[in-house]
Subunit: 274 residues, 2 copies
């Protein structure tokens, strides 16, 4: 159905009780990027939230390709949303609601802020952090503070360990060139996963507890997300990272990730032609 | 509009990002019970979540009475829902959505389980607990466990202090007849507030930190909510409360609260007639 007409009933538990998961990925030249990883995560989020998906990953992929074919646009963003469904008493789940949306590519694309960004630290750990839930109000209610501080986003931590940003993973390069990112209480990022797999051939990579105090030893720092790519983080609160400018390792990483994305798209294009 | 046609767009941040608050109260014989308290809390939740309400409490009350008059049913449940509104990019709030729903009284009414209930302890503190947000997935994903354990609900705690249940406040009577309920990290319950104001004339009331270990000293325990009233809690995990039967203080409290509710309704009926 047309986007303007896509609506859910006000008794849907996704709206009434914040009971929902989603996932979100780009389609480039007709290819849903890293779609196996996104569907794997979507399935996992559903399981962690005790939501019945009722479709296999293969079936979902088929529906996505059908929708893409129908809309006939080479580039897009796809959003899968699964909620507890319409409830008779406003609380007890009955039949889940699954919505697959195709968003306009140009309208959603933000691009990677090449000049770098500032984050502000925020003590908060998402509930069920391994699931991509629709629960984002913690950062939404901080949006005025972010504007005041000139910050692009928050950096969540538990008082001791850095976890993630509100919609991105986070990692640093230590002065010796080791890439370090948090192991626990983070969303398993698809962009991060693919980036690290490619980066392993060029850098030492450590997925482990990342201490707040290690920020002082960071030469470079980054966010990492589907929508924003890998933007350099140059400042956290009043703390400057490295020399406060985008660094050489970041530039190398951008290329490594771009190559991996391109290779994925080319391979899939060949497969789809067969 | 008719309930069946009441829908929100899929780009509403209440659905996409769990960015919403609500409130919920009964209407009895045409009188919205304790409506000043509920509207006060609704306004406060909006402020805590940085959502623009755009209506005064007086205006909201007027709209509610208008809706009641239009539907012409003496008893009902009303739900106010305020979300971040439809967003162009799926994240940034633009104009909030306010929805006022009238629910069928008999369909929503659960009554107070007089025979008492069981709870299970769950370590969890709601994010922004003073706001009545739509964030309920923590308990919704535990619904199978609740059924398995024969429990009606959870009892949230932070590892040391008892806070609240998923949709109710919680309090105990100590063996000396003192009523104790948690002070911090709880939703300010309207039923609790009105109950305590009336109970103060009959019991010693303490609003303070309530330790998990104090459950062992409880003679009686209760939930307290708009929908369920004041049901006795007879068991928490494997721990029996008091002698495991509904007690005399609970029965006294039920009467005290019923009297206060009736008096409120009678006073309002007189005022509305004037």
């Amino acid at each position: 159905m047309p986007e303007a007409e896509a609506k859910v009933h006000v008794h849907d538990l996704g709206l009434l009780r914040g009971y929902g998961i989603f996932d979100f990925f780009p389609v480039i030249r007709g290819v849903p990027l890293f779609v196996e990883d996104y569907l794997e995560r979507f399935e996992n989020s559903a399981r962690l939230m005790d939501l019945d998906l009722n479709f296999t990953k293969e079936e979902l992929r088929g529906i996505i390709l059908q929708l893409l074919k129908h809309n006939d646009t080479p580039n897009a963003y796809m959003r899968l949303l699964l909620t507890g469904g319409v409830s008779e008493n406003g609380f007890s789940p009955q039949r889940p609601t699954l919505i697959i949306m195709q968003h306009d590519y140009e309208k959603y694309r933000t691009g990677t802020p090449k000049d770098g960004i500032k984050l502000i630290k925020e003590q908060y750990v998402r509930d069920i952090p391994e699931a991509k839930t629709t629960n984002y109000f913690h950062v939404l209610r901080l949006r005025k503070k972010l504007v005041e501080e000139g910050a692009a986003d928050v950096l969540y931590h538990d008082g001791k360990l850095i976890t993630e940003s509100s919609r991105s993973n986070f990692f640093i390069f230590k002065k010796d060139g080791t890439l370090v990112t948090a192991k626990s209480n983070v969303l398993p990022g698809v962009t991060l996963k693919n980036l690290l797999e490619a980066a392993k051939e060029h850098f030492k990579v450590e997925v482990r507890d990342l201490l707040l105090e290690e920020l002082a030893e960071a030469q470079e720092a980054f966010l990492c997300s589907t929508l924003k790519g890998v933007p350099p983080v140059l400042q956290i609160d009043n703390q400057r990272i490295g020399d406060g400018k985008p660094g050489k390792w970041g530039q190398e990483l951008q290329k490594i990730f771009q190559n991996r994305s391109n290779r994925y798209i080319e391979n899939q294009t060949l497969l789809m032609r067969d």
